[in-house]
Structure formats: structure tokens, C-alpha cells
Subunit: 374 residues, 2 copies
């Protein structure tokens, strides 16, 4: 119902997520090329775009294996013809029926971090799956702390005794690269992560000569070239990038492939602010710190089927359910009127895309995403 009447970005009437397909395809091409150059496998995460069409852009660059973060996303891409899928989220043993249906259909790799889950999977799976063990090298979200060898060993014992489970290797997500800024700081975290992985590999390579090492946060994969000992990378966000990645240094602002078009509904001269129809339900409430202040997005002017570079001194200050409150420079404030439409570069493109459910491209095509809500 939010589809615009024509293909020009400036003619939209309601909040609409714009996608520049050329930028996205260039982002995919660059990362695929880097993997080829480095001799590292490419198993990209599809949680960011959640779209069949964008998936085909990856296939065009030679991608054959994909990563997802939920069973519904795995089912969606299996239906779209992907047959080697990694579910990079700790296995949810309540979903055995769906896991079984999926394992029958595709080559499935599951993420296991407890012997409880491993035992249940061994008992209830009807088909073979590969298991990767997720490690935590300091991020503190999920995964077994890299030093807990006994816990890793308990899972491996279950796998070795199982006819259904086979060990694939270790997986790590160094998500704490998102908390730093600049190449040197990201490289420091990356090197610590690599060190932990190498120690683990040394520990287990005797027992599992084919074990794989898989990693893949977007900052490390975008900025760094040292992936020695890494078998595959699995970044996701790089397909679109966003304000957070530009601030970290993973990309330039001109590499950001998505922007939310938002109609201007009010001008407030005393505050030098505008109100737009684009709220927390459209952008998500994820934040970035810029100039020591919490912000919800940056502002760019729309030109036909493109958006400009973000305007200095212009940002989303506040979001409620449907309202976006935007502080502007005097120059931009003077150019905008009630009834115009502006572009908001999202803080976190994965969440904004999931909020919006689909994209309008510069070619006038509307690309739908997985509709996991139904």
C-alpha cells in the first residue's frame, strides 16, 4: 500500500524505502572479488536484505552458499532455490518439525552452543546436518567463550557419536567491531579474534583435520585484508551499508544503498526543524552517536532517482511511532517546504529494511522482502 505512483523518488507519497541497485550490486561485487583475491570462501548473510531478487544479485557474482538467522528466513531462501544454507543462530530445538523439513530439502548447517541442544538434535533429526560451534572471542552476545574447552569437547562428543550430526567447524562473530571507530581499532579486535581462532584450530586440528573457520562482521570484512587461516567469511550488512558503517569506516557515505523517503508535514522555524512521516515503525529506533549526541539517521536531498550526499548539520533528532523530528541547517531548512520529500540514511539498514518490508529501486521496481510476520 506504500507503493508510489511513478518511478521518480521525488514523487512518492508515503514513507518508502529506496534502494539504489547499482550501489548494492557494486557492494556485492567488491566483497565477492575480495574473497576470490584472498582465496577465502564467501557465505554471505542474507538477513540484511531478506529478498529473493537481491539474492539473485549475489548469485550473479558466483555465490552458492548463504547464511540466515532464522528458520523462516531459511525456508524462504530454500523456496527461492538456495540449497546450501547456514542457520547462524543457536539452534532452537522447539522448531524440530521445521528443521527436519528443511534438512530434507537443503544442505543445512546449524549453530550449536550447548550439549543440551546437540543431544536433542541428535535424537530428533531425521536427516543429516552439519554443525558449527559458535565461539565468543569477547563480544559477549552468543557463543562459547573460546577458552571453555570442556564445553566445546562435550558438544563434539555428542557430534562424534551421532549418525546425523557432522562437525563443520568454528564460527565467530566479532560484533564488538561495531563499538569502535576506524581501521586501526577494528584491526585490533580482528587480530585478537584471529588469534583465538588460531589457538582453537591448533587444539582441534588433530582430531578434525577438515575443520573450517568461519567469521564475518562487516567492518572487518570491509576494511581488512588479513584472513589467514579463515576458510570463509559471512558478512551481511555490507550489501546496503548504513550510517553506522560509514562512521566506523567500513564504507563511504556514497556506498550506502538504501534511504527512507519521508514526506515533510511541518516546518518549525523557531526550532529550525521539520516533521516528517517516518517514525520508529519505519526506521527502527537504533541510534548512532554523532557529535556527542544520540541520532536516528542522517538527511539527504532527493533528486529524481538519486539522493545527494548527506547534508552537514542535518539529522533525525527524535522518533515516535510515526513522527520523525529532523534538525536542519539553515541552508537546507530554507530549501524545504511542507509537501516536499526528503531521504533519511538509516543508522542500521538491516533493521530499517525489516521494518519496511520492501524496496523501491531507481528502476521503478518494487522488491518485496520475506514477510515473516504472517
Amino acid at each position: 500500500m506504500n507503493r508510489p505512483h511513478s518511478m521518480s523518488f521525488t514523487s512518492i507519497t508515503s514513507p518508502t524505502l529506496l534502494l539504489n541497485s547499482e550501489i548494492a550490486r557494486a557492494n556485492i561485487r567488491r566483497m565477492a572479488g575480495k574473497c576470490r583475491d584472498l582465496g577465502v570462501g564467501f557465505n554471505p548473510h542474507f538477513k540484511t536484505h531478506q529478498s529473493r531478487e537481491v539474492g539473485e544479485w549475489f548469485r550473479a557474482e558466483g555465490v552458492e552458499r548463504i547464511t540466515v538467522s532464522s528458520i523462516v528466513m531459511a525456508e524462504f531462501f530454500a523456496d527461492a532455490g538456495w540449497d546450501d544454507i547456514t542457520l547462524a543462530f543457536p539452534a532452537n530445538v522447539r522448531e524440530m518439525d521445521r528443521l527436519n523439513a528443511l534438512a530434507q530439502k537443503v544442505k543445512l548447517t546449524l549453530d550449536v552452543i550447548s550439549d543440551t541442544a546437540a543431544i536433542t538434535l541428535d535424537q530428533k533429526l531425521q536427516h543429516s546436518v552439519r554443525v558449527m560451534i559458535e565461539l565468543d572471542a569477547g563480544y559477549g552476545r552468543t557463543g562459547i567463550p573460546a577458552g571453555e574447552k570442556e564445553r566445546i569437547s562435550r558438544i563434539l562428543d555428542v557430534i562424534d557419536a551421532s549418525e546425523k550430526l557432522s562437525f563443520y567447524g568454528f564460527y565467530i562473530h566479532a560484533g564488538h567491531t561495531y563499538d569502535v571507530r576506524g581501521r586501526a581499532s577494528v584491526a585490533q579486535i580482528h587480530d585478537q579474534t584471529l588469534g583465538a581462532l588460531h589457538r582453537l584450530k591448533a587444539d582441534w586440528l588433530g582430531r578434525y583435520p577438515d575443520l573450517k573457520i568461519s567469521m564475518g562482521d562487516t567492518p572487518s570484512c570491509s576494511m581488512l585484508d588479513n584472513f589467514e587461516g579463515v576458510d570463509e567469511i559471512r558478512p551481511g550488512n555490507f550489501v546496503f551499508y548504513d550510517v553506522t558503517q560509514a562512521e566506523i569506516g567500513s564504507c563511504g557515505y556514497d556506498d550506502i544503498a538504501v534511504a527512507l523517503a519521508a514526506p515533510v508535514v511541518s516546518k518549525e522555524p523557531q526550532r529550525r526543524e521539520i516533521v516528517v512521516h517516518a517514525g520508529a515503525i519505519h526506521l527502527s529506533k537504533d541510534t548512532v552517536i554523532q557529535d556527542d549526541a544520540v541520532r536516528f539517521g542522517r538527511i539527504a536531498m532527493l533528486r529524481d532517482i538519486k539522493w545527494d550526499a548527506p547534508s552537514d548539520g542535518c539529522y533525525v533528532r527524535k522518533l515516535s511511532q510515526e513522527h520523525g523530528i529532523i534538525t536542519l541547517s539553515q541552508e537546507i531548512f530554507d530549501q524545504l517546504e511542507v509537501g516536499d520529500v526528503i531521504a533519511i540514511l538509516p543508522v542500521h539498514s538491516c533493521l530499517t529494511a525489516d521494518c519496511m518490508g520492501g524496496y523501491l529501486t531507481e528502476k521503478g521496481e518494487y522488491i518485496r522482502m520475506l514477510n515473516w510476520r504472517r
Copy 2:
């Protein structure tokens, strides 16, 4: 696709928004009764639940007029048989075709805060609508600062000269009650707001003897009884309430009608934390400050078709796209295993509901919401 296999809340397999219909209906009944007792009109905001079925629970309490915050929500409820709808969001003049279609079908009240919008509406509307002017009495989101009489006057001049527009009255949302805690602080903001409204009413009552005063933040409407000079209230969140409202003092924790059921996928004894499948895409990233820390939800144990009171010392510490990281007390940590399911009381039920797109009730019914994304 997230619908569970049976009606017990503890049997769900994937993230599911639970709705206790008895609590919600009691919340509606209480607010409707208060309006009757005070002799104040009730024009509830439907942005929180966005559901036909929940709308019928309001109708059963005598509600005939409703408020929404987008054109797509107005269209949805018009299709559901509501014929007196207030669109409490500054009129988006890019949506004239849809506004015209809606104005033909229902008695429509629009929110106007600029003469630019008023002029466009007058020129392009084909049917009569009522106009309310939104005022800002200190919240700083939308609305004309209550002291800007000239700006108000310019809009009223356009309305008076128009054959399509008729003036309904002034509308105010004192959203800054969300930033304080406790009845006394909410009452202080409410009294300031009432004061501003009374001054305005005095200024304009001579020219518009029938002008209405409309207001309605959930904290004021839940906790206070002084609505002198107010013609109608339009709270929305009270139908479900949430952790934020409980912390403000608008409700007790046992008045919260929704909770997100989340499967436990990992236990981390060193951190006394669990990982659940319930992330930013399910809960939203809205936050509340509790014990001087940023939190994303509170935790309750599930019992068949109910949830317990929230457990002390248990809260959502961190959210990523699909992961929820939950810190627990030792007592609760010891009771939970991988494969269990817990309830998360949301920080902001409006956003969590919009993220999830539907509800499972204790009667085993799945209630769908407006699917604005398609």
C-alpha cells in the same frame, strides 16, 4: 508462519506476541467508564493495537469515534466499519487522492499545523472535512507553540474562507509526561497543559463558540481526574500498557496485556544470562531506564495461558536483529533450560505490536493486525 501449534503459551515454537484479552478488555472498560463518569468524550487512539478484533472490544464499550496516525490505518478501520475517524498526524498533502477517497467514505477530522497545508487541502479536497489544529504546550514534537497566535490565526482564516474545511478545535499531546515518573510529576505537566488550553479556549471561544478541546497521553488519562474544559480524550497505549507505563505509574504490572514469548536457545552460566530468539525486529529497540541502566524489557515466567509477575533482577540487557540477551537472577536462571520459553514484557507495546503484526490470545485465537507493509 509464527503461529504456534496449540493454544498453550508454553507450547509456542517461535517468537510470538501473546495477548491477554481479559486484561485488555478490562483496560478498555476502565477508561471508557472513566470518560462516562467525568462526562468527557472518548476518541481512543487505535495506533497501539491496529486490529479489527481489538477495535470491536472498544465498540462493545460504546466507542463510536476513533483516532489513528496514518492514512493506511484510517483506510483499514474505515473498511472495518468505523465512520468517524480522526487522523491525528499533521496532514500529508502528498496523499490527496487517498484523503479524498477517505473523506468520501467517513466523517474525517484532519490535523493541520500550517497554512500551507490548509491552503492545499482547501484547493484539492473534494469533500468536507473537519480540521483540528495541533498545539505544542512544551513537548516539542509537533504542533504550533501555544503562544503563536498569529500562526493559528492564519490557518483559521483559510478554514473560515473554505467551503470544504470546518474548524473542530484544538488538539494537544502532552508526550513529555513519558519523561517523568509518578502521579505528582505527571499532574504538574497536565496542569500546565490544561492552563495553556484554557487560555487558548478563552482567546478563541468568541469566534468559535463550539470549539472542542482534545487531549490524551496515556499517563495523564490513566492517573488523573481533572479534565475540566476538556471535551474529549484520545489515549491509545492504555489498551495494552507496558513497562514504560508501569514505571511512570500509569498502571500496575498486572495491567500489562501483551508479552513476547521467546524460546531459550542458550544458557551462559558465567554471565548468568540466557540467549533467546527475540530481537530488535520483534521487540523494537525502545528502551527504559531501570536501576540506572538501559533496558529493553522485563522477564516473566510463562504458565500455560498466563504469565507471572515480572521477576526481580531479570531484564533484557541487549538486542541485536534476532538475539535477545537476558540477565537473570540466580533463582530464575536455575529454573530455565535450553528449549524452554519465557515471556518478555515490552518497554513500548505500540512498537512491539507493530513489529510483530499479530497476537495470540489466551483463547488460542490468532489476531492479525493491519499489514501496512504491503
